[in-house]
Amino acid sequence: MDPTEPSELVLLIVKIGFLALLWGFVLVAVRAVRLDMFGPTKRQQRRGPPPMARPTPPSPPPQPVHKPRSPSKLVVTKGHLAGTTIPLGSSPVTIGRAQDSTLVLEDDFASGRHARLVPHDGQWFVEDLGSTNGTYLNRTKVTSPMPVPLGAPVRIGKTVLELHR
């Protein structure tokens, strides 16, 4: 045997040691993944609520709700969901096929995020969110935010919505 050859024991220790080191790396990586997925929850709570993923328009002053002319509900008059009403508060109403919309449409001609209704100063504005097939107020295509009068039909795909008092 070569005199410089290390003993069997040394080689065994090196072998086991390396495997332990390798698995140590895997476990550290798994820990980093866990930290990333579930987060250091306590620290997050101390940091306060998460910043909003997207800016929402500032909520309007509360008085519009009490104005006599302001609509109080959104009624679906035509389409798959005809008859549905949604009470209007002070927060915007999003409409589309996406599941997180306020009004989820089962309409093949609606986009994921199709349009939204935003209250401002006692008025509700309809805004098209870059939909494929467009949003129509009366017969005009909505290209910029437009105020929606009471009872005016807002058409999204096969669905027609109206604001009622």
């Binding site: 090196v14 072998k15 390396f18 495997l19 390798l22 998460p50 800016p55 969901l81």
Partner: protein
């Protein structure tokens, strides 16, 4: 406002919404509030460097009998090489995933040590036989690794916004297919081991299908994102399956059939399998229809049967797989496979230890059969660690896809991570005789320049997706933002009086 809120129509797919919420529920930090992603990455990178250096040290100890300072120098050099990639991530994608890069570095380090170890065995055998010592594969691979790091940095630096790639979808499709055709061109194309898949530039050979894979995926994802609405809306029901119109699906089918046809004609079974799986998964993710998976599996089975009857080399592979130990097979068609299996068996649970087995007895031990070499010297324990690392890479890629805010990023990240997963499965499954052997490389580990360069680009793209998913959006709503102030000053206000 006194009436109770009317229940909203039910969500279409509550489960997938839950899943997305679970994975994407963490707060999005802005600018300086980023969690210490890069510090975590650096710590993991140091660990990865330690693992690679220890592997080299263990090998040197077993081979020479003593350690030298040289091991440490090489280890430092290896670390510095990948530290360049880390600096690039710091600069170009500060919010990107901190785990991906260190995992890649560890796998790459293990691969380099194993390739070097096979070099040692080869040169020893050459010395004993009195023939000239073959050139070192590890040195070539080290140069390729350097190139891979450069490509990684370039991809991160150039592709700042993944969506900009979507604009070049058709160009990408064309470039990808031309890339696949390049090896046929006389003069630059060369054939190695009977398959004409390589380009030869000086001493380096390059397999363009590795890079074409990514480029064609860009085409696929870009096309599907542009045409998604048309594909899912204008469709007819055929046999209970909603099939899109032929002219919407046309370009997709052309690209698919062209690339598959080229690969099949070139005898590149592994890559054609990879392309096929990639297309199916991207289609499935884009359309959210499970019927594509069933359709794809059916198509795969038909293709496999036709391929078996049409091509002799497919029959050889299947025969070697099913009857590896029968008749004269072990010494004939399945020699390589059986040697690899004996390698795994010799390794057992903990392996023989680096530098103490005989992995060189398997032909092509440093490319297709590097897993057998690793299995022999690191044993089941080491192989499991390596497979876990691949699983983590795929997991992080899928996580990036779930977090991505745009459909293109989602498709690209899913396609890329699935491709990695499929490649590892087909490769390791082939070596372990779970499925027939196909000539694919083990990402980041195998000897092969095009493979490591292409896979580095894949990781760079995954990091890009993950970075844009985690950074708070500069308003990236798919719509113009509503500005109440601007509206109240606009003339539309007159409607108020009606």
């Amino acid at each position: 406002m006194t009436r109770p809120p009317i229940p909203l129509p039910p969500l279409r797919r509550p489960r997938s919404a839950d899943l997305t919420a679970t994975f994407a529920g963490l707060p999005l930090p802005r600018g300086n509030d980023l969690p210490p992603y890069r510090r975590r990455e650096l710590a993991l990178l140091v660990y990865a460097g330690v693992v690679a250096t220890s592997a080299l040290a263990a090998l040197t100890l077993a081979d020479v009998g003593q350690l030298s300072l040289e091991v440490l120098t090489i280890g430092m050099g290896f670390f510095c090489l990948w530290a360049l990639a880390h600096l690039a991530v710091r600069r170009f994608a500060p919010a990107a995933d901190p785990v991906l890069l260190p995992l890649v570095v560890t796998l790459n380090g293990l691969g380099l040590v194993m390739i070097y170890r096979l070099d040692l065995a080869k040169s020893e055998a050459a010395k004993r036989a009195g023939t000239h010592i073959p050139p070192s594969a590890a040195q070539v691979q080290l140069v390729w690794t350097l190139l891979a790091v450069i490509v990684f940095v370039l991809v991160l630096a150039v592709v700042r916004d993944l969506r900009s790639l979507a604009r070049y979808a058709y160009t990408a499709g064309l470039v990808g297919i031309v890339g696949l055709l390049l090896p046929i061109v006389p003069g630059i194309g060369t054939s190695i081991n009977g398959a004409r898949l390589w380009l030869r530039i000086g001493p380096f050979s390059f397999q363009p299908s590795e890079v074409s894979k990514i480029i064609i995926l860009v085409f696929f994802a870009g096309y599907l994102v542009n045409k998604r609405d048309v594909l899912s809306l204008a469709s007819r029901s055929v046999l209970g399956m909603k099939l899109p119109r032929a002219r919407d699906l046309g370009p997709l089918l052309v690209a698919w059939l062209a690339s598959l046809g080229i690969l099949v004609v070139q005898n590149d079974l592994g890559s054609s399998l990879l392309f096929f799986g990639m297309f199916m998964v991207v289609l499935y993710v884009a359309t959210e229809r499970a019927s594509w998976i069933i359709f794809g599996l059916l198509l795969f089975m038909i293709g496999a049967v036709i391929g078996y009857h049409l091509f002799g080399h497919v029959q050889v592979r299947v025969n070697g797989w099913l009857h590896a130990f029968d008749g004269d097979n072990p010494s004939n068609q399945s020699y390589q496979l059986v040697q690899g299996l004996y390698g795994f068996a010799a390794g057992g649970i903990t392996g023989t230890g680096l530098g103490q087995g005989h992995p060189q007895k398997v032909p092509f031990a440093n490319t297709d059969f590097i897993m057998a070499s690793l299995g022999e010297e690191l044993g089941l324990t080491g192989v499991m660690a390596i497979l876990t690392m691949y699983a983590l890479i795929v997991l992080r890629g899928m996580r990036a896809a779930l977090g991505a805010k745009d459909a293109f990023g989602k498709l690209i990240a899913t396609g890329l991570s699935f491709t990695l997963a499929l490649q590892v499965f087909v490769q390791v499954g082939g070596v372990m005789r779970l499925i027939p052997l196909t000539g694919l490389t083990l990402p980041f580990v195998s000897y092969g320049g095009s493979s490591i360069v292409a896979n580095a680009a894949i990781i760079a793209l995954l990091l890009r997706v993950s970075d844009s998913a985690r950074r708070a959006p500069e308003p990236v709503l798919d719509a113009p933002l509503f500005d109440p102030g601007a509206v109240s000053e606009s003339p539309t206000q007159v409607v108020k009086t009606t």
